[in-house]
């Protein structure tokens, strides 16, 4: 290692030192303001209130007893403002004398609407009123995590913020997808970036061994989070720089507060229930005229036995229909109730000089899948112990620890250190498009159980044992593979993450605050797959000879940042605030993957494998960004705020011909209702108008700008008679692009916030218009060009996302004994291509993906899905759609021309959260309902089940199936024979999956909770403080939808076109949990 590796740190450190050193030994005459903040009426102290001096960087947070102290306050008049969630803000002017202390106490009136007034921005904490852009704060996350059924950080975000789509990972541990204000890029990530305590963290996916990836995001423990803010677009995210155009999620972990130590303990237990309404499989039994004594299964579309063409002899005469639901059969199913357990402890406290917060959390979740009893018996009869990972193949265990320390080293200097560690272990059964997917082999059966009896013999087309072998494991009505063997296929991932940061704040003068943050996100991931010798289903010739895969990767993110903010009060009515700063991020990753085969009995390491299958590695590859920025804000009478700013970035992923990018921004916030000229209405309490414009970017991949070659080996023995010797080889792997630059997204947004009806209702509306230029598009390269890649990233397009966002918080009733509040969020997004450039060869507008399912062209929605449409008509009115090789006689007709069927990402979001406070607020009942619409999604289950052997889904077997469902199966499986040429001398068979790309809109009863504040006598019995509570929580209680698949949210991860990937994927389970929170 050379000094060069540490030079980035040295540079940032030097800059910080210079800035800090510049102010040493300097000071001015100053005084101190102390006070106490209490609740009006009860005089209860209000801890966690923010007291700040307007026009300066000085502020304080109240302690447990509600007291605060602000030192180093310049002599003169100081305008104080107190802000706290749930209370109306107050302002007061006090006179500060040199070397003297002045007292200012506040009694705060409750605000009906519970709103966050302080937000974290790229330049530090700021009052929300000063911002020209919308910032979504979740607010009081600690309470939400404590009082609702929240397992992951994504659960906190789901249906909470307009414009923010959270698609939960539907399998336990599955990676959630977060989209802010739609999709703007078809080639780069549309994920927002995440910043925790000032540190850019990795939120990428972790390999699970199946289509469902796990997520590093899931290592963030909701119990440790104080607040989450969502910076939605470039207008707000400009100063976060390159990569922030998709939004920024800013997470702040809990901090200690001055006062006595507060302990809290919680324990949670609950059920994890798969309440999916799995469909029955069907068999249409009949006989043929040619062989009336033989029983066959018929397909209704051709009225011929499955797998045959109808002729006079094979015309199928249907006799009866059977159906069977293996997953609902308690003697067969692997669906069993899972459970979730959690225990947590937290302590916080300290003095004004030193504050601390520490927490520990252990949780264990077993998914709703369990080895069926008959398989346990089979293994036991073979003297094989059933391992826990076989018995419960879907499980997660997580341990999190955090310690945050803050010290006021001097009145002018604060230092804080935050450190968190998480260890997360996941395992998942084979699922999705694996041939041995558990859900596939269990869900898709032959439409009957065992032997139907009577005229129907066993094993008509049914293989009773694995591979049909006499000594094969009995299938017990599963399709191909014994579930016990599938559950031996073990995939485990282990993530260990250390996240830490140091923050120093120095206020040499009342008008200056300097801040420096340096932090590291270190995540190591180990993925492990094992099928020991003679374990797992025999789905291939090498499946049972023993296979092991061991992948290890590390993500290291270094973040360093310095800012200096100066304020200047020119007059009583005009203040300026200037911020200059710079930051540096280094996102680094490496991995080693290896796998082996041919394991001796009991062995489970690659080193013990007889055949060393593969090894691949990536040495540390980094994306580095160095940015500097400046911001100037002018405040007029503390009611009108102008902001202008600019940031310039250099980035290692830019092409060599592109050096620097500039991102400007400007914003205006105007508390117009405070103006004297503004008309006064009794129903209107305040009105703030805001607008802003900003530019941000998304960087290309780490090495996409470089010309590269890839190493490998090729077995060369062209004359040999056995096999080849591996010879080192090179091939070109990337042609590079020296002109590569970031996508630049410019966004204009405007809106208003208002409180009406005696502050009972808060309304927040935003309109945005985001235009992305230099959109990075993977331009396809035809194979015949012989290029080393089949697409090349180029800055050629532009997209536009427009939308509306509305959030209304209303406290409809607020009595001493009863309260009722409602929060409604709604948003609509439209994302279209403006331009894809001109194809230089044709001179025509470029079309991407022409002829494919995902086709992009100017004027269309981004990632439009194209299918051949089809029509159907029950011409003979017999209730059955019949296919005919002659299209004129067929009752289903598929067009040959593709048409646009819309997009796969929800465009309309709506949620309603309502809560009732009963029994003098001792019991709170809350429900959250979540709507997503304006999109279509794949019914992957039926798309597959209806169009592959044994063709036993209802729409191919049951003559009473709805016509539209019969039609889509015919259109997909049999299609239409249409003329291929003008003379119609030949025909082409056109098929379509359009019938399975269907409206995905749904309403989901997302959350329910009942929080009972423990009676005082219980508190005394438990020696706990008041505020301890008992919570019943539930998640994903019910879904209302016309979607025909398992669940419109069932999702193994996104396709490259940002549509959901559902293919035999479990829907998210339903959680019912009980939690006891005790406070000491």
């Amino acid at each position: 290692m050379t000094l060069g590796r540490w030079r980035p740190l040295a540079v940032v450190g030097a800059a910080l030192t210079l800035m800090l050193g510049a102010g040493r030994h300097l000071g001015a005459q100053a005084g101190t303001i102390t006070g106490r903040v209490t609740a009006q009426g009860s005089s209860q102290p209000l801890a966690e209130s923010r007291v700040l001096i307007i026009g300066t960087s000085l502020s304080a947070t109240t302690s447990d007893s509600g007291t605060f102290t602000i030192r180093n306050v310049p002599v003169g008049e100081a305008q104080l403002q107190v802000l706290r969630v749930g209370y109306q803000s107050q302002k007061r002017t006090v006179a500060v004398a040199a070397n003297a202390s002045v007292r200012a106490d506040f009694q705060m009136a409750q605000a009906i609407a519970q709103l966050e007034e302080i937000v974290t921005t790229a330049t530090g904490q700021s009052r929300k009123v000063e911002l020209g852009n919308a910032v979504q704060t979740l607010g009081d996350v600690a309470t939400k995590a404590e009082q609702t059924e929240v397992s992951t950080t994504a659960d906190l975000l789901t249906a909470k913020a307009p414009g923010v789509i959270v698609l939960p990972g539907s399998t336990l541990g599955g990676a959630p997808t977060v989209r802010v204000r739609g999709v703007s890029s078809i080639s780069l990530s549309n994920d927002p970036i995440w910043v925790v305590d000032g540190v850019r963290i990795s939120t990428g996916t972790v390999r699970s061994g199946t289509d469902t990836p796990f997520s590093l995001l899931n290592t963030l423990n909701p119990d440790e989070i104080e607040d989450i803010e969502i910076v939605k677009g470039p207008s707000a995210a400009t100063l976060y720089g390159t990569d922030a155009a998709n939004g920024v999620v800013v997470v702040t972990t809990k901090k200690g507060r001055a006062g006595q130590s507060h302990w809290s303990f919680s324990g949670e237990y609950g059920n994890v229930d798969d309440r999916t309404d799995y469909p029955d499989m069907y068999a249409n039994w009949g006989h043929t005229l040619g062989n009336p004594s033989k029983n066959v299964r018929c397909q209704i579309a051709t009225m011929a036995p499955i797998g045959t063409t109808p002729t006079s002899n094979t015309q199928c005469i249907s006799d009866s229909v059977t159906h069977y639901n293996l997953l609902a059969d308690p003697t067969r199913t692997f669906v069993h109730m899972g459970n979730r357990k959690e225990a947590a402890a937290q302590v916080s406290g300290g003095s004004e000089a030193v504050r601390y917060f520490a927490s520990g959390n252990l949780n264990n979740e077993v998914g709703p899948i369990q080895m069926p009893g008959f398989e346990v018996q089979r293994f036991e009869s073979q003297k094989t112990d059933v391992r826990d990972e076989w018995f419960h193949p879907l499980a997660q265990q997580q341990a999190s620890f955090r310690a945050n320390l803050a010290a006021a080293v001097s009145p002018k200097f604060d230092l804080s250190a935050n450190a968190g560690f998480t260890k997360m272990d996941n395992r998942i059964m084979p699922e999705s498009d694996l041939i041995i997917a558990l859900l596939y082999t269990g869900l898709q059966n032959y439409g009957y159980k065992g032997c139907p009896g009577g005229a129907f013999p066993c094993g008509l087309d049914k293989i009773p044992t694995q591979n049909g072998a006499a000594n094969g494991a009995p299938l017990n009505d599963y399709l191909q593979w014994a579930p016990g063997d599938i559950m031996q296929y073990t995939n485990e991932s282990d993530v260990q993450r250390m996240l830490g940061s140091f923050n120093a704040t120095w206020r040499p003068l009342a008008w200056m605050q300097n801040e420096g943050t340096v932090g590291l996100d270190l995540a190591t991931v180990n993925f492990f797959h094992i099928c020991r010798l003679n374990e797992c289903p025999p789905q291939s010739g090498t499946a049972r000879i023993g296979n092991v895969t061991d992948n290890r990767s590390t993500n290291r993110n270094l973040s360093a940042k310095v800012t200096s903010t100066s304020t200047w009060n020119t007059t009583n009515w005009l203040n300026f605030k200037t911020t200059v700063g710079g930051d540096y991020t280094n996102l680094e990753a490496d991995f080693v993957n290896e796998s082996g085969q041919n394991l001796p009995p009991g062995a489970s390491t690659v080193g013990s494998a007889g055949t060393y299958l593969s090894i691949s590695e990536q040495q540390p590859t980094a994306t580095k960004t160095l940015g500097v920025y400046a911001q100037e804000q002018a405040s007029l009478r503390d009611r009108m705020f102008f902001t202008v700013a600019a940031r310039s970035d250099q980035n290692s992923a830019f092409g060599t011909n592109f050096q620097r990018v500039l991102y400007p921004k400007a914003g205006l916030s105007y508390l117009i209702s405070d103006e004297s000229f503004f008309p006064k209405y009794s129903w209107l309490d305040n009105l703030r108008l805001r607008m802003s414009y900003g530019v941000s970017g998304v960087q290309p991949g780490r090495t996409q700008g470089l010309v590269l070659f890839a190493p490998g080996t090729v077995p060369i023995d062209t004359r040999g008679s056995t096999n080849g010797s591996d010879v080192p080889a090179l091939v070109a792997s990337n042609p590079g692009n020296a002109n590569l630059k970031p996508e630049r997204s410019g966004e204009f947004e405007t809106g208003f916030e208002s409180q009406v009806l005696s502050s009972r209702v808060h309304i927040d509306y935003t309109f945005y218009n985001k235009t992305t230029h230099d959109a990075l598009i993977s331009v396809p390269i035809a194979g015949s060009a012989g290029a080393s890649v089949l697409s090349l990233l180029q800055n050629i397009g532009s997209t536009r996302n427009t939308g509306h966002e509305l959030q209304v918080n209303a406290q409809l009733i607020d009595r001493r004994r009863f309260g009722w509040d409602v929060t409604v969020s709604a948003s609509h997004n439209t994302g279209k291509f403006l331009d894809l450039g001109i194809d230089p060869a044709t001179g025509q507008p470029r079309v991407l993906g022409l002829g494919g399912t995902t086709e992009n062209r100017a004027g269309d929605f981004i990632n439009s899905q194209w299918y051949r449409p089809y029509t159907y008509e029950d011409k003979n009115h017999d209730g059955i759609l019949q296919w005919n090789a002659n299209d004129a006689l067929s009752e289903v007709h598929v067009d040959s021309v593709l048409k646009n069927f819309g997009v796969g990402v929800p465009r309309d979001l709506f949620s309603v959260q309502t809560g009732f406070d009963l029994f003098s607020h001792r019991l709170r009942i809350m429900s959250l309902f979540d709507y997503k619409g304006g999109y279509s999604t794949q019914d992957g289950m039926n798309n597959f089940q209806c169009n592959s052997t044994p063709y036993s889904c209802r729409e191919t077997q049951d003559p009473t199936a709805p016509l539209d469902q019969q039609a889509r199966a015919i259109a997909k499986t049999l299609g239409s024979n249409l003329c291929s040429n003008a003379a119609c001398t030949t025909t082409t068979n056109y098929k379509t999956g359009a019938g399975y790309f269907i409206n995905g809109q749904f309403w989901k009863w997302r959350e329910f909770s009942a929080v009972l504040t423990l009676p005082d006598r219980f508190d005394r019995l438990l020696r706990a403080q008041s505020g301890s509570n008992f919570v019943f929580g539930a998640r994903n209680l019910h879904t209302w939808t016309s979607f025909t698949g398992l669940d419109p949210e069932a999702n193994a991860g996104l396709n490259s076109n940002d549509t959901q990937f559902e293919f035999q994927t479990n829907a998210a389970p339903t959680y019912f949990t009980f939690r006891l929170n005790l406070k000491y």
Partner: protein, 473 residues
């Protein structure tokens, strides 16, 4: 109101501090703070030596394997899916589809649209580029490696011949030099064959050495050139290139597999391991009733020593079809790590036999065919048992049928069957329903009319390409 009388001095100090920070930050920024840190990556500066040129040659020759084996390749021919040769067998009568993917069943059913994602066009045509790049590097850094150059020109010729033999008229041949793409206009199969022939001629012209390797590569060139000449209907010229003295029957240019890396041979992987293809037959048992497939050869029921098969249920361990339904028969020519011949001495004898056929020398043809049957050469590592001589056909038509039947058994699975079917239409004036599997398809419906693969719709990224020129044989 607050003011600080020291403000100008502070502003100056902060300005100096900020400027200093900027100076430090700007120092070696590109080299240190922002330089891409990719120690494991190989950039062009490392590919400027004889050793690198040879490594590029090895990589390029390795890419030629994409016709049969996806190990190390990308696209729709990857390590666990069908490549061109397997799909050729599926489109003709060598294999039945035994998985549940519609796109692959469409190939089996001869109903292939150009947007069928399983078509292995792209990896085959793309591989030409790697070879062109390697030829350039070898010419620059090791120009004396004439056998290597000859081998690469052969690879280029082989890939273009494969395109011409199996895809419709309308195949573009573009190229990319230093990242600059030049697309080609669609060419007829005949034009693509001309290009293939020119590359093989280049190999013959360059590879004039006397080493064993040079001689070995020259034999590869002769075989490839002869096959191209057969495709062009120049049977006598073809046969003249590959007499036994030039190419012995035992000759093989193999695609190898890596046992040390567990790279299962493609055909074994798809048929014997994951069971997505089953060796097919001239009839299928549907609901207990035999249903014949017109024109399909009985690769299973003939029990021919050249195509040994085993019922999957009787195999050890048993092999079940992926779709759990199709009767499963595995092939026993190639085991897991066996190599497969790109070109072989058997091909040479068959070229000679076909020349006899076209010269109406039926006894001459039978002499060659029966000699092969009497003393069968190894197919890869598999040694077929000797077979009795066949009676001499009494008509040219019968002789043609017999020849292609014999060739089908000798070249089973090696990507020649589709071209032979096409040639029967083009050169022997037979009709589609006399050659291709026709009639009822065993999984439902009827066979379609696909007689060669369409160029995949992915090629439409080439603005000069709009689709097949025609679907003529």
């Amino acid at each position: 109101m607050m003011r600080d009388m020291d403000r100008p001095r502070w502003v100056l100090r902060i300005g100096v501090a900020a400027a200093g920070a900027m100076v430090i930050a700007a120092c070696n920024v590109k080299d240190e703070l922002l330089a891409p840190q990719n120690p494991g990556l190989i950039d062009p500066s490392a590919v400027t030596s004889p050793a690198a040129a040879y490594a590029l040659k090895v990589g390029a020759v390795g890419k030629t394997r994409v016709v049969v084996d996806g190990a190390g390749s990308s696209g729709n021919c990857n390590s666990n899916s069908e490549c061109l040769w397997e799909e050729i067998g599926n489109l003709t009568d060598e294999y039945h589809n035994s998985d549940f993917q519609n796109t692959r069943q469409d190939i089996d059913q001869r109903s292939v649209s150009d947007d069928n994602p399983s078509i292995s066009y792209t990896p085959v045509t793309q591989s030409r580029g790697f070879i062109r790049d390697a030829i350039g590097a070898v010419r620059q850094f090791i120009p004396d490696s004439i056998a290597d150059l000859g081998e690469m020109y052969n690879s280029l010729g082989f890939l273009e011949m494969s395109l011409a033999e199996n895809f419709c008229n309308g195949i573009p041949l573009g190229h990319t030099v230093n990242g600059e793409i030049t697309y080609g206009a669609p060419l007829t199969d005949a034009q693509v064959l001309d290009s293939a022939a020119a590359h093989v001629d280049s190999a013959l012209a360059i590879n004039t050495g006397s080493s064993a390797q040079a001689a070995f590569i020259k034999q590869q060139s002769l075989l490839l050139k002869a096959r191209i000449l057969v495709d062009q209907g120049k049977f006598a010229q073809a046969a003249a290139l590959v007499p036994t003295s030039a190419v012995p029957t035992s000759y093989n240019y193999f695609f190898a597999t890596s046992a040390s890396k567990g790279e299962s041979f493609g055909i074994w992987s798809i048929v014997n391991s994951v069971a997505r293809l089953s060796v097919s037959d001239s009839f299928e048992i549907v609901n207990g009733v035999p249903t014949t497939t017109k024109n399909a050869l009985p690769f299973v029921s003939a029990h021919d020593p050249r195509v040994p098969t085993t019922d999957g249920k009787l195999a050890s361990p048993a092999v079940a079809p992926e779709d759990a339904t199709t009767p499963m028969f595995i092939q026993n020519i190639w085991s897991r790590f066996d190599p497969v011949a790109m070109v072989s001495g058997i091909d040479a004898r068959l070229i000679e036999a076909e020349a006899k056929l076209n010269a109406s020398d039926i006894p001459g043809m039978m002499s060659i065919l029966n000699a092969l049957r009497a003393a069968p050469p190894k197919i890869s590592n598999y040694q077929p048992a000797a077979m009795p001589a066949l009676p001499t056909p009494t008509s040219q038509d019968a002789a043609t049928t017999l020849f292609f039947r014999e060739k089908a058994f000798w070249t089973f699975g090696r990507g020649q069957r589709l071209n032979d079917d096409r040639r029967q239409l083009r050169q022997y004036k037979r009709t589609e329903d006399q050659v291709y599997p026709t009639g009822s398809y065993f999984k439902g419906g009827s066979y379609g009319h696909t007689i060669q693969f369409p160029v995949a719709s992915a090629e439409k990224a080439n603005p000069l390409f709009t689709g097949c020129i025609d679907r003529n044989p």
